[in-house]
Amino acid sequence: MLRPRPSLVPVAALVVALALLSISCAGHAKPVLVKFDASVLTAVQTIASVERELSSVGVLTPAQSLGIRLKLRPVITLGEQATTALLAWQPGQQTPASLLHLSTSIGDLLTTVIGMLPDGTAKARILTAIAAAQQAWSAVIVLMGDV
Protein backbone atom coordinates (compact mmCIF):
# COMPACT_ATOMS: atom_id res chain seq x y z
CA MET A 1 0.00 0.00 0.00
CA LEU A 2 1.23 3.50 -0.82
CA ARG A 3 2.14 5.52 2.26
CA PRO A 4 1.93 9.33 2.28
CA ARG A 5 5.13 11.38 2.47
CA PRO A 6 5.59 12.43 6.12
CA SER A 7 6.01 16.13 5.18
CA LEU A 8 2.53 16.22 3.66
CA VAL A 9 0.77 14.78 6.68
CA PRO A 10 0.59 18.12 8.61
CA VAL A 11 -0.81 19.83 5.50
CA ALA A 12 -3.46 17.17 5.07
CA ALA A 13 -4.28 17.31 8.78
CA LEU A 14 -4.77 21.07 8.47
CA VAL A 15 -7.07 20.53 5.49
CA VAL A 16 -9.16 18.06 7.49
CA ALA A 17 -9.31 20.44 10.46
CA LEU A 18 -10.41 23.37 8.27
CA ALA A 19 -13.01 21.24 6.53
CA LEU A 20 -14.41 19.92 9.82
CA LEU A 21 -14.53 23.45 11.24
CA SER A 22 -16.43 24.73 8.23
CA ILE A 23 -18.71 21.69 8.29
CA SER A 24 -19.67 22.42 11.89
CA CYS A 25 -20.90 25.86 10.73
CA ALA A 26 -22.53 24.43 7.60
CA GLY A 27 -24.29 21.77 9.60
CA HIS A 28 -25.91 24.46 11.70
CA ALA A 29 -26.62 27.29 9.25
CA LYS A 30 -28.16 25.76 6.17
CA PRO A 31 -30.87 23.66 7.87
CA VAL A 32 -32.10 26.78 9.67
CA LEU A 33 -32.50 28.65 6.37
CA VAL A 34 -34.06 25.59 4.73
CA LYS A 35 -36.55 25.25 7.59
CA PHE A 36 -37.72 28.82 7.07
CA ASP A 37 -38.09 28.22 3.32
CA ALA A 38 -40.13 25.06 4.00
CA SER A 39 -42.34 26.80 6.56
CA VAL A 40 -43.20 29.58 4.10
CA LEU A 41 -44.07 27.01 1.44
CA THR A 42 -46.36 25.29 3.96
CA ALA A 43 -48.02 28.63 4.75
CA VAL A 44 -48.57 29.31 1.04
CA GLN A 45 -50.03 25.83 0.49
CA THR A 46 -52.32 26.30 3.51
CA ILE A 47 -53.60 29.64 2.22
CA ALA A 48 -54.23 28.14 -1.23
CA SER A 49 -56.09 25.20 0.28
CA VAL A 50 -58.20 27.41 2.59
CA GLU A 51 -59.05 29.73 -0.31
CA ARG A 52 -60.40 26.79 -2.31
CA GLU A 53 -62.40 25.48 0.65
CA LEU A 54 -63.97 28.82 1.55
CA SER A 55 -64.66 29.61 -2.08
CA SER A 56 -66.43 26.29 -2.63
CA VAL A 57 -68.86 26.95 0.24
CA GLY A 58 -69.49 30.55 -0.78
CA VAL A 59 -67.69 32.24 2.11
CA LEU A 60 -65.36 33.96 -0.35
CA THR A 61 -66.60 35.57 -3.56
CA PRO A 62 -64.64 34.88 -6.77
CA ALA A 63 -63.28 38.44 -6.60
CA GLN A 64 -62.04 37.91 -3.02
CA SER A 65 -60.50 34.58 -3.97
CA LEU A 66 -58.80 36.22 -6.93
CA GLY A 67 -57.45 38.94 -4.64
CA ILE A 68 -55.91 36.33 -2.33
CA ARG A 69 -54.42 34.36 -5.25
CA LEU A 70 -52.89 37.49 -6.78
CA LYS A 71 -51.28 38.26 -3.40
CA LEU A 72 -49.83 34.73 -3.31
CA ARG A 73 -48.16 35.11 -6.71
CA PRO A 74 -45.19 37.35 -5.70
CA VAL A 75 -44.59 35.27 -2.55
CA ILE A 76 -44.35 32.11 -4.65
CA THR A 77 -41.96 33.81 -7.08
CA LEU A 78 -39.77 34.90 -4.16
CA GLY A 79 -39.96 31.40 -2.67
CA GLU A 80 -38.62 29.88 -5.89
CA GLN A 81 -35.86 32.49 -6.09
CA ALA A 82 -34.89 32.04 -2.43
CA THR A 83 -34.76 28.25 -2.78
CA THR A 84 -32.58 28.49 -5.89
CA ALA A 85 -30.30 30.95 -4.07
CA LEU A 86 -30.09 28.64 -1.05
CA LEU A 87 -28.98 25.74 -3.24
CA ALA A 88 -25.95 27.81 -4.25
CA TRP A 89 -25.46 29.31 -0.79
CA GLN A 90 -22.39 28.40 1.28
CA PRO A 91 -21.88 29.03 5.00
CA GLY A 92 -20.08 32.30 5.60
CA GLN A 93 -21.82 34.03 2.71
CA GLN A 94 -24.47 36.68 3.30
CA THR A 95 -28.04 35.45 3.69
CA PRO A 96 -29.61 35.55 0.19
CA ALA A 97 -31.51 38.81 -0.40
CA SER A 98 -34.47 36.88 -1.82
CA LEU A 99 -34.82 35.10 1.54
CA LEU A 100 -34.98 38.46 3.32
CA HIS A 101 -37.62 39.65 0.82
CA LEU A 102 -39.53 36.42 1.36
CA SER A 103 -39.72 37.20 5.07
CA THR A 104 -41.17 40.66 4.37
CA SER A 105 -43.63 39.36 1.80
CA ILE A 106 -45.01 36.63 4.08
CA GLY A 107 -45.65 39.32 6.72
CA ASP A 108 -47.52 41.46 4.17
CA LEU A 109 -49.47 38.44 3.02
CA LEU A 110 -50.54 37.72 6.59
CA THR A 111 -51.94 41.23 7.00
CA THR A 112 -53.84 41.08 3.71
CA VAL A 113 -55.23 37.56 3.89
CA ILE A 114 -56.21 37.66 7.54
CA GLY A 115 -58.10 40.89 6.94
CA MET A 116 -60.12 39.20 4.18
CA LEU A 117 -61.08 36.03 6.05
CA PRO A 118 -63.84 35.55 8.59
CA ASP A 119 -62.90 34.24 12.04
CA GLY A 120 -63.01 30.45 12.29
CA THR A 121 -61.06 27.26 11.85
CA ALA A 122 -59.77 28.16 8.39
CA LYS A 123 -58.34 31.45 9.60
CA ALA A 124 -56.78 29.67 12.59
CA ARG A 125 -55.06 27.19 10.23
CA ILE A 126 -53.50 30.04 8.27
CA LEU A 127 -52.45 31.85 11.45
CA THR A 128 -50.81 28.66 12.72
CA ALA A 129 -48.91 28.11 9.45
CA ILE A 130 -47.72 31.71 9.32
CA ALA A 131 -46.75 31.64 13.00
CA ALA A 132 -44.54 28.62 12.23
CA ALA A 133 -42.90 30.57 9.40
CA GLN A 134 -42.32 33.54 11.69
CA GLN A 135 -40.83 31.27 14.35
CA ALA A 136 -38.50 29.79 11.73
CA TRP A 137 -37.58 33.33 10.69
CA SER A 138 -36.65 34.15 14.31
CA ALA A 139 -34.12 31.31 14.17
CA VAL A 140 -32.72 32.82 10.95
CA ILE A 141 -32.30 36.18 12.68
CA VAL A 142 -30.42 34.52 15.55
CA LEU A 143 -28.25 32.76 12.97
CA MET A 144 -27.49 36.01 11.14
CA GLY A 145 -26.36 37.45 14.47
CA ASP A 146 -23.94 34.53 14.86
CA VAL A 147 -22.47 34.76 11.33
Binding site: P4, A19, A26, G27, D37, A48, T77, E80, T83
Partner: protein, 72 residues
Protein backbone atom coordinates in the same frame (compact mmCIF):
# COMPACT_ATOMS: atom_id res chain seq x y z
CA UNK B 1 -22.58 9.99 12.50
CA UNK B 2 -19.62 11.09 14.68
CA UNK B 3 -16.19 11.37 13.08
CA UNK B 4 -13.73 9.04 14.84
CA UNK B 5 -9.95 9.35 15.17
CA UNK B 6 -9.59 6.44 12.74
CA UNK B 7 -11.69 8.28 10.17
CA UNK B 8 -9.53 11.38 10.51
CA UNK B 9 -6.36 9.32 10.12
CA UNK B 10 -7.73 7.78 6.94
CA UNK B 11 -8.69 11.21 5.63
CA UNK B 12 -5.22 12.57 6.44
CA UNK B 13 -3.59 9.68 4.60
CA UNK B 14 -5.88 10.02 1.60
CA UNK B 15 -5.43 13.78 1.45
CA UNK B 16 -1.68 13.47 1.75
CA UNK B 17 -1.80 11.27 -1.34
CA UNK B 18 -3.88 13.82 -3.23
CA UNK B 19 -1.62 16.71 -2.25
CA UNK B 20 1.47 14.71 -3.19
CA UNK B 21 -0.11 14.05 -6.58
CA UNK B 22 -0.39 17.80 -7.13
CA UNK B 23 -4.12 18.36 -6.49
CA UNK B 24 -4.60 22.02 -5.37
CA UNK B 25 -5.36 22.42 -1.64
CA UNK B 26 -8.49 24.46 -2.41
CA UNK B 27 -9.94 21.59 -4.42
CA UNK B 28 -9.09 19.14 -1.67
CA UNK B 29 -10.83 21.29 0.98
CA UNK B 30 -13.92 21.59 -1.22
CA UNK B 31 -13.98 17.84 -1.77
CA UNK B 32 -13.73 17.10 1.96
CA UNK B 33 -16.48 19.60 2.75
CA UNK B 34 -18.71 18.06 0.10
CA UNK B 35 -18.08 14.54 1.40
CA UNK B 36 -18.53 15.35 5.09
CA UNK B 37 -21.48 17.72 4.94
CA UNK B 38 -23.69 15.22 3.14
CA UNK B 39 -26.48 15.96 0.70
CA UNK B 40 -29.32 16.37 3.25
CA UNK B 41 -29.93 20.13 3.12
CA UNK B 42 -29.54 20.30 -0.65
CA UNK B 43 -31.78 17.28 -1.16
CA UNK B 44 -34.47 19.00 0.92
CA UNK B 45 -33.98 22.20 -1.09
CA UNK B 46 -34.44 20.37 -4.37
CA UNK B 47 -37.65 18.89 -3.00
CA UNK B 48 -38.75 22.38 -1.89
CA UNK B 49 -38.00 23.75 -5.34
CA UNK B 50 -40.40 21.17 -6.78
CA UNK B 51 -42.94 22.20 -4.15
CA UNK B 52 -42.63 25.87 -5.10
CA UNK B 53 -42.96 25.02 -8.80
CA UNK B 54 -46.11 22.99 -8.08
CA UNK B 55 -47.52 25.84 -5.97
CA UNK B 56 -46.85 28.27 -8.82
CA UNK B 57 -48.58 26.04 -11.37
CA UNK B 58 -51.59 25.55 -9.09
CA UNK B 59 -51.83 29.26 -8.26
CA UNK B 60 -51.55 30.40 -11.89
CA UNK B 61 -54.23 27.92 -12.94
CA UNK B 62 -56.51 29.10 -10.13
CA UNK B 63 -55.95 32.76 -11.08
CA UNK B 64 -56.91 32.03 -14.70
CA UNK B 65 -60.01 30.16 -13.53
CA UNK B 66 -61.07 32.97 -11.19
CA UNK B 67 -60.37 35.70 -13.74
CA UNK B 68 -62.64 33.89 -16.21
CA UNK B 69 -65.35 33.63 -13.52
CA UNK B 70 -65.07 37.27 -12.48
CA UNK B 71 -65.31 38.46 -16.12
CA UNK B 72 -68.52 36.54 -16.81
Amino acid sequence: MPVTATDVTRWVNALSMLVSLGVPIVNVVMMVRRELSGPDADAVLRSLLSGWAAAKTENDARISELQATVKT
